[in-house]
Structure formats: structure tokens, C-alpha cells
């Protein structure tokens, strides 16, 4: 404790000594015995023996110091200074603590694995810190701006709810929504080269997409060449940003939606419907063709088989077929055999054709057998 207070006293004295040029009277040589800071009369000693004169004890050392530094400023001043000593030391230590904390916090930097730190010394770019713990000069001198270089940021242009109409090369409009993914490649360029990097990327993305789409036909945009558009837009954005030294790399451009505008959507749906219609028409025709072919082949084969047999015995086969067919037919139909040729015109054929009716038939009346 006493060492501690001695150190304080000494340092206090150091300050006092520093301020010597502002008119402190020469120390030690004062004539009157000045009361010490703690009210104790200092032993009068010549300045000459000072520190070199064999300090017998710590007490004496302190005493001498007190006399040398504390007791120099004249009665009132010394007394006043002495009264503030405990407060001063508190402030002093608080200041030291604050200073060292601040030193620690502003000169040790922990850079996360996905970050880089751009160090500027008095505003001038100094170096770029990689991930890990690094040291720089403290705050007002050095400044570290941490930039996340791994994070993939997105810019969305167009939304599913609102139409973003873009003119195509064949002077049609397409409603398009896409996302541009980018990340920071050079943190220093990103920080120092562009005033509004995010806005710039968005504007360039918009412009590049419109430029590429304006060189494609509507069907290309809606259909198969989407991948090509994405690749070209990405390249275009990258080239343009390169021209600004933006330090940005475009990771990906993805078209989330490319639709005809709502006002003409019905007509586009009708085209799809027409494709379906045509498809089904062709399918039907194919089914018919298949059926017809099978039928023809079947019939032809059947005829061929019968014909083979017919050739062996033409007359008999012919007769047989005839009678068999007639049998089958006449067995199942109503038959009327009229002997006299003149009767036929008077037959009430209308009634004859309705056999389920139990009414006595004219044909039976005329004596026709069943």
C-alpha cells in the first residue's frame, strides 16, 4: 500500500515537475519550514543529499519525495494539491483503465471466418485482414471495417404480385421476375469505389436483363432459352460492374418467373389449349388408324383362310356357306311366304313390322305360316 501511494505521489510530483516551466519556484531551497502535505513538518535538509544520500527507510524516502515535489508549490498550493490526492488518483486510474480498455478494444480485432477487415490508417488504406485475431494501431489512427465476403446477397427485381413488363426483341412484352445473387470479392474496392454499391447492382441488373431480353424473341424468353438469358445477363452485369471497379462478383442470375402479361394471358392459355387440342386430335386419328389397320388385317386374314378352303371345293363350300347363312338369318326373323305375286302390294307392312303386338296380324289372316 505504501509503495502504491509512493508511486502515486511520485507520479504526481512528475506532473508537478513537468509544469515547472510555468513558474514553480526552485524546490528544496525554501527558507521557511513548509508544513508537509499531511500536516507533518518536514525535516529541513539540504537539497544536495537528495536521493543519493543513503535512504535509510521507506518512510524517509517517502518523506523526502514529499518534500521534494509536494512541498514545493508554496503553502496554499501544496495544501490544496494534497487535499485532492485521493480523488486524483481515482480519476487517474479510471482514465488509465478506460484508456487501456479502449486500446485493447480498438487495436485487437477478431475477424470472423467469413469476414475480411479493411484497415485504414488515418483514412489511407493500409491492408486487409483475413479471418482470425489481428492487431492494429488503436482507434483514431487505425480503423477496421469488417466486410462479410462469404455472404451471398440477393437483389430481387420484379415480384409475383406486380408486373414488371419488359420489351422483347419481337416487340412483345413479358412479365419477368428474377433474382441476382452476388457477393463481395474485393472488400476494399467495394468500400472505396462505389458510392451506392447496392443501388448500382440493382440498376445494372435491371438494365442488363432488359438489354438481353430485348434481343430475344418472346418465345425464347418464355421457353427454352431461359438458361442462356440467365448466363448472358450474369455476364453483362459482371462486365459492367467490372468497369466500375466495384469488387463485386455476380454468383447467379435466376429467372423466377417469365410470363406473358396478364392482359393477354387468356390468349396465351388458348395457344396452350390449342396445342392440347391438336395433340388429342392426332391421338384420335392414330387410334382410328390402328383400329382400321387391325380390322383390315383381321378381315383379310379371315378371307384368306376361307378362300384357301374354298379353292379346294368351290361349289360345295359356296352352297354350304349360303345355306348356313340363310339358316342363321331366317331362324331369327319373321318370315312371310306369299304364293300369289299379286298380293304383295296390299300387305300392311307397317303392322307386320311390329310383331310384339298381340293383335291378330293381317299376314296370319292371309294364311301365312310362321
Amino acid at each position: 500500500m505504501s509503495v502504491f501511494s509512493a508511486w502515486v505521489a511520485r507520479s504526481r510530483g512528475l506532473f508537478a515537475d513537468n509544469k515547472g516551466p510555468w513558474g514553480s519556484p526552485p524546490s528544496g531551497g525554501s527558507n521557511d519550514p513548509t508544513p508537509g502535505p499531511w500536516g507533518k513538518s518536514a525535516p529541513k535538509r539540504p537539497r544536495g543529499d537528495g536521493l543519493g544520500g543513503g535512504v535509510s527507510s521507506l518512510e524517509e524516502f517517502l518523506e523526502r519525495n514529499r518534500r521534494r515535489f509536494g512541498g514545493t508549490g508554496g503553502g496554499g498550493g501544496g495544501g490544496g494539491g494534497a487535499r485532492f490526492v485521493p480523488d486524483r488518483s481515482l480519476y487517474f486510474w479510471a482514465a488509465i483503465a478506460f484508456f487501456s480498455l479502449w486500446l485493447v478494444f480498438t487495436s485487437i480485432h477478431r475477424i470472423a471466418p467469413d469476414e475480411q477487415g479493411v484497415v485504414t490508417v488515418f483514412g489511407r488504406y493500409h491492408n486487409t485482414l483475413n479471418s482470425g485475431v489481428s492487431f492494429t494501431l488503436p482507434a483514431p489512427i487505425s480503423r477496421v471495417q469488417k466486410v462479410n465476403v462469404a455472404e451471398i446477397r440477393g437483389v430481387d427485381v420484379g415480384s409475383p404480385t406486380e408486373e414488371t413488363l419488359v420489351l422483347t426483341g419481337d416487340q412483345n412484352l413479358v412479365d419477368i421476375a428474377y433474382r441476382v445473387l452476388w457477393s463481395i470479392r474485393d472488400p476494399e474496392q467495394f468500400l472505396f469505389e462505389l458510392r451506392t454499391p447496392e443501388d448500382t447492382i440493382r440498376q445494372v441488373a435491371e438494365s442488363a436483363m432488359r438489354q438481353v431480353v430485348s434481343q430475344m424473341s418472346l418465345n425464347d424468353v418464355l421457353g427454352v432459352r431461359r438458361g442462356e438469358i440467365e448466363a448472358r445477363v450474369r455476364e453483362e452485369i459482371q462486365q459492367t460492374l467490372e468497369r466500375y471497379d466495384s469488387g463485386v462478383i455476380i454468383r447467379n442470375v435466376s429467372i423466377r418467373q417469365a410470363d406473358p402479361p396478364g392482359a393477354v394471358n387468356e390468349a396465351f392459355k388458348d395457344v396452350t389449349a390449342a396445342q392440347q387440342d391438336a395433340e388429342s386430335e392426332i391421338n384420335k386419328a392414330n387410334a382410328y388408324a390402328l383400329q382400321l389397320r387391325q380390322l383390315a388385317q383381321g378381315e383379310a386374314t379371315a378371307f384368306d383362310k376361307v378362300y384357301e378352303q374354298y379353292q379346294l371345293a368351290p361349289d360345295v363350300t359356296r352352297k354350304r356357306m349360303y345355306y348356313e347363312t340363310m339358316e342363321r338369318i331366317l331362324r331369327n326373323v319373321e318370315k312371310t311366304i306369299v304364293e300369289t305375286p299379286g298380293v304383295t302390294p296390299y300387305l300392311p307392312l307397317n303392322q307386320l313390322q311390329q310383331p310384339p303386338r298381340p293383335s291378330p296380324s293381317q299376314s296370319q289372316g292371309t294364311g301365312a305360316g310362321r
Binding site: 498550493g77 416487340q171 388458348d270 347363312t325 319373321e334
Partner: protein
């Protein structure tokens, strides 16, 4: 020390004065700014001015000394800045209106000239914005509408950039790039007629697709018919007479008995005894 205690107020003033002098003498020049040092309002030198191809940490950024209270630093942005333009109506040579939204990117390359001509970036932008608009109208007005939707557009943009740059040079500004952000048809009649055209084009497409489908279906059917005919002919043609008989038998049966799926209408046959089938019926052989 005693003086400090004797005149605390004066000491404070002196301290503040010294502090101010220090701050007035030393200024921190960041990488993103260039400074025009003015002595009593008159520009005398430039700190951290833009040099093409320079690398960070090598050029003028950092601490800079100047005469306190006499010299001031006017900061001018060193970065690429955005010059955004209001939407312009452009009339192409084929009398079609187009709403064009464009932007330019610029950088102050001669801060001294820029300071003398305009003093601040905002005023440069105010001055250049209408020029960009008129350049755009002039350049695009020389072209037909269709060329705005073609790779030729690049050439137009380059012309605009060069034209704008010529004027921007007077402000110590370099135009890095001019790009069209949007080129839209104005809402109302032009947009509606475009929609109508798109719609009719789709209707045409739909019709032609349907017609194409019908055509192909018909061809398929006809081919099948031909194929069937060929098969029949190849087979039946070997004996037309027998085919006639054979087919008649089949036909009678189908007509009077049905084809196995549909029952035939009830039939009554009125036969004459002279019928071939009843030939033996009369018994007079």
C-alpha cells in the same frame, strides 16, 4: 501550473485554441474523398486526387497538413457516383413513343475544375441531368423503334456517353457509363394496341396449331384408310367373285342378325316361293 490555477479560464481557452490549431493543421483524408484545399476561398492544391489505375494505400489518402484557419478543404467524392435521370419520353423515327429511364455513372476526375465550375456534386448532377435527357432524346430519336431492341442499342449508348462526356469534361467529370434502365411503351393507347397485337398473334398461333393438328389427323386417317384398302385389295383381289359372295353372306348376317353388339331392328321377310332358297320347297325337280 500556478498560471493554470491562477487563470483557469484563459488556460482552457489556450488549450482549446491549441486543439483547434491541431485539428486545423492536420486533416484525415479518406480513400473515398478527394480534397480541394482552398486558401481564403482560392483553391491552391488538391489532395488525394483521382488517378486512373492507382491502387489503394499508395496515393494521397492519409494525414494531410494545411495552414490552420487560412486553408480549408472542400471534400469531393472520389467514388463512382450515380446520375439518375427522370423518365424521358422519346419519339423514334417511326413515330413511336417510348418512355426511357436511363442512368449514368460518373466520377470526378478533376476536382479542381469541378470545384471551380460547380462546387458540389449535387450541382454537377443538376447540370448534367438535363443534358443526359436531351442527349438521350436526340440519339434515340434518330433511330427506328426496332433498333432500340437490338444490339445496335449499345452503339447508341456509347454515342450518348461520348456526347455527355464532352460536356461533363467541363465540370471535371468523367462519364463512366450510360445505360438504359427501362424502355417502356407509355400506358394507354400504345400499350393497349401492343396488347391487342400480342393477343391477335396468339389467336393466329392457336388457330394454326389447331389447323395443323386437324391436318395431321386427317392425313393419318387417310393413310390408314389407304393401308386398309391395300390390305383388302391384296387379299380379296385374288377372287373377286368369291369375295362378292363371301361378303354378301357376311353382310346378310350383319344386317339381319346384328354384329354381336347391336341387336338389329325386327325384320319381317316376305319371300316368294320362287326364291332361290325355297327352290327345293316346291319339290318339283
Amino acid at each position: 501550473m500556478s498560471l493554470l490555477r491562477a487563470h483557469p479560464f484563459a488556460s482552457l481557452l489556450i488549450g482549446l485554441f491549441l486543439l483547434f490549431t491541431l485539428f486545423g493543421t492536420v486533416s484525415i483524408v479518406p480513400e473515398t474523398q478527394q480534397g480541394v484545399v482552398t486558401r481564403l476561398g482560392k483553391p491552391v492544391r488538391i489532395v488525394n486526387s483521382f488517378e486512373p489505375g492507382e491502387r489503394f494505400g499508395e496515393a494521397g489518402a492519409g494525414l494531410n497538413a494545411k495552414i490552420p484557419f487560412v486553408e480549408n478543404i472542400v471534400w469531393i467524392d472520389k467514388r463512382v457516383r450515380d446520375l439518375d435521370m427522370d423518365v424521358q419520353q422519346v419519339l423514334s423515327t417511326d413515330q413511336r413513343r417510348l418512355e426511357v429511364d436511363a442512368f449514368a455513372r460518373y466520377r470526378v476526375v478533376d476536382p479542381l475544375r469541378m470545384f471551380i465550375a460547380a462546387r458540389s456534386e449535387d450541382r454537377v448532377e443538376q447540370a448534367l441531368r438535363p443534358i443526359l435527357g436531351s442527349q438521350l432524346r436526340n440519339e434515340l430519336g434518330k433511330r427506328p423503334f426496332a433498333s432500340l431492341l437490338s444490339p445496335e442499342r449499345e452503339g447508341a449508348m456509347e454515342n450518348i456517353r461520348v456526347g455527355l462526356n464532352r460536356i461533363a469534361e467541363q465540370y471535371g467529370v468523367e462519364i463512366v457509363d450510360v445505360r438504359i434502365k427501362k424502355a417502356d411503351l407509355p400506358t394507354g393507347a400504345p400499350l393497349d394496341s401492343l396488347f391487342a397485337r400480342m393477343r391477335s398473334a396468339r389467336e393466329q398461333e392457336a388457330r394454326s396449331i389447331r389447323a395443323e393438328g386437324a391436318k395431321r389427323a386427317q392425313i393419318i386417317r387417310a393413310e390408314a384408310d389407304a393401308e386398309a384398302a391395300r390390305i383388302y385389295a391384296a387379299s380379296f383381289g385374288r377372287d373377286p367373285q368369291f369375295y362378292d359372295f363371301y361378303r354378301a353372306m357376311q353382310s346378310y348376317q350383319t344386317t339381319f342378325l346384328g354384329d354381336g353388339q347391336n341387336a338389329p331392328a325386327p325384320t319381317t321377310i316376305v319371300m316368294s316361293p320362287n326364291n332361290e332358297y325355297l327352290r327345293e320347297f316346291t319339290g318339283n325337280r
